[in-house]
């Protein structure tokens, strides 16, 4: 097994093989929950936790799970972690849990998680799997927050509204009201706005990649 450097893993997760921009996985939660930056951050963190935990467990057991039963075992591991995280959020981040609602259990269906378990963690050692899980998770969280911020600014004219759901009442100062008397822009808040926003972000990434490739030449 050839070892990839940690640096390469992080660069892959965050940029070259980004879950949202390149693999285009996990679209359902990505598009549905990114209506504000804080919602995006909440779901991103929950997904990252599941990814790290499942990558770790899959890597630990990789040598004694037989290939025939690996997929059901992975699914069981992921489902257990998601349920545990859902219960914990409902106990300690109740308001955020109520906002994210159905999308927490739906993390199970985020194919990025099973994908990483199968494609990476089941073939690599524990430290590499941990780094891969974290990098992929953060690489999913950043687009969620970016898209959330874009939609929130154009849709509601605010940024980081409801930050207190996540960081406690002392975080009210985080909320920025960018425009007074902003009428709101419905398209951004509704699902089509999410598609358009994601399209723009992917285009932006491609432009940057293109520029860099040209510079190298």
């Amino acid at each position: 097994m050839s070892y990839i450097s940690y640096r390469q893993l992080i660069a892959d997760g965050m940029w070259h093989n980004n879950v949202a921009f390149v693999q285009i996985l996990g679209l359902c939660p990505l598009l549905a929950v990114s209506s504000t930056a804080i919602n995006g951050l909440g779901l991103g963190i929950a997904t990252t936790l599941v990814l790290i935990a499942s990558n770790l467990t899959v890597s630990v057991i990789r040598n004694w799970v037989r290939p025939e039963i690996r997929i059901p075992v992975f699914v069981m591991i992921i489902a257990s972690f998601v349920t545990a995280i859902e219960l914990s959020m409902s106990a300690w981040f109740y308001d955020l849990y109520r906002v994210l609602g159905i999308f927490i259990p739906l993390i199970v269906t985020n194919c990025a998680i099973l994908g990483r378990a199968e494609a990476f963690a089941s073939r690599n050692d524990i430290p590499h799997s941990l780094v891969d899980g974290a990098a992929m998770g953060i690489g999913f969280t950043v687009p969620l927050v970016l898209l959330g911020a874009m939609r929130e600014i154009t849709g509601f004219g605010t940024l980081f509204a409801q930050a207190d759901l996540m960081f406690g009442p002392s975080a009210h100062w985080l909320t920025l009201n960018l425009f007074d008397d902003y009428g709101g822009f419905l398209l951004s808040i509704l699902p089509p706005g999410a598609f358009i926003g994601l399209g723009l972000l992917i285009a932006l990434k491609n432009v940057i990649d293109h520029k860099r490739a040209e510079n190298r030449r």
């Binding site: 004694w64 799970v65 037989r66 025939e68 039963i69 059901p72 075992v73 069981m76 591991i77 489902a79 257990s80 972690f81 349920t83 545990a84 219960l87 914990s88 409902s90 106990a91 300690w92 109740y94 109520r98 709101g184 419905l186 808040i189 509704l190």
Partner: protein, 210 residues
């Protein structure tokens, strides 16, 4: 061959047990906190309609479930009874407006024994963001216009939005949503007037509150 299948099966069962163990442990650890959160949320919604000083019973346990085709459709809805000592104070009814612009709108309506509204809140809805969602208390003060209204303070015709000749505002670009909320509150008042005695005298539901 058979041996491989057996080992696979045992391994799978083992993982199922470990996974279930993890979920059970988390459940036991978080169960009390979750129940407490849900109770606080319920009390929070109730106290937004009726100040906690107005009653002294454990209101979250003093509830009954009712079903009525007009105010709840096919679902069972909770009615919480606020009492002060022996005296009935108010009922908090979880009415459902079944015919919202995009699905049912769940309400919480506080009605004093005298038939006067103490407040209305929207618990959940699927109305259009930016148009119909002015029924949320966080977005506009519209719901506050119900406070103090009763069947005797307004005539039958006045229980409607202004466009239909009533006293309640509609929203720019959205008439359907406020119209059905007004209708639902009105129907709930009529139901309350007709069933008041029974609502307060029925024995409280014994079991887990939802």
């Amino acid at each position: 061959m058979m041996r491989n299948i057996a080992i696979g099966g045992v391994l799978l069962a083992l993982f199922a047990m470990v996974g279930t163990g993890l979920v059970s442990a988390t459940y036991l650890l978080t169960k009390d906190q979750i129940a407490e959160n849900e109770k606080q949320r319920l009390l929070g919604s109730i106290n937004a309609l009726l100040p906690a000083s107005a009653y002294d019973n454990a209101i979250e346990q003093d509830l009954i479930f009712i079903r009525d085709p007009i105010i709840s459709g096919k679902e069972e809805i909770p009615v919480y009874r606020a009492r002060n000592g022996e005296e009935d104070v108010a009922a908090i009814i979880g009415a459902i407006a079944p015919d919202g612009y995009a699905g049912p709108i769940k309400l919480l309506i506080g009605i004093r024994v005298s038939g006067e509204i103490t407040g209305v809140r929207v618990i959940s809805h699927h109305e259009t963001p930016g148009l119909g969602d002015a029924i949320e208390i966080d977005r506009s003060d519209w719901l506050l216009s119900f406070i103090g209204k009763s069947l005797s303070s307004l005539t039958e015709a006045e229980w409607a939005v202004k466009k239909d000749g009533g006293v309640f505002d509609q929203f720019t670009g959205a008439t359907i949503t406020p119209r059905i909320v007004v209708k639902s509150v009105h129907n709930t008042l009529l139901y309350f007037q007709k069933n008041r005695k029974r609502l307060f005298e029925s024995p409280a539901y014994q079991g887990e509150a939802t």
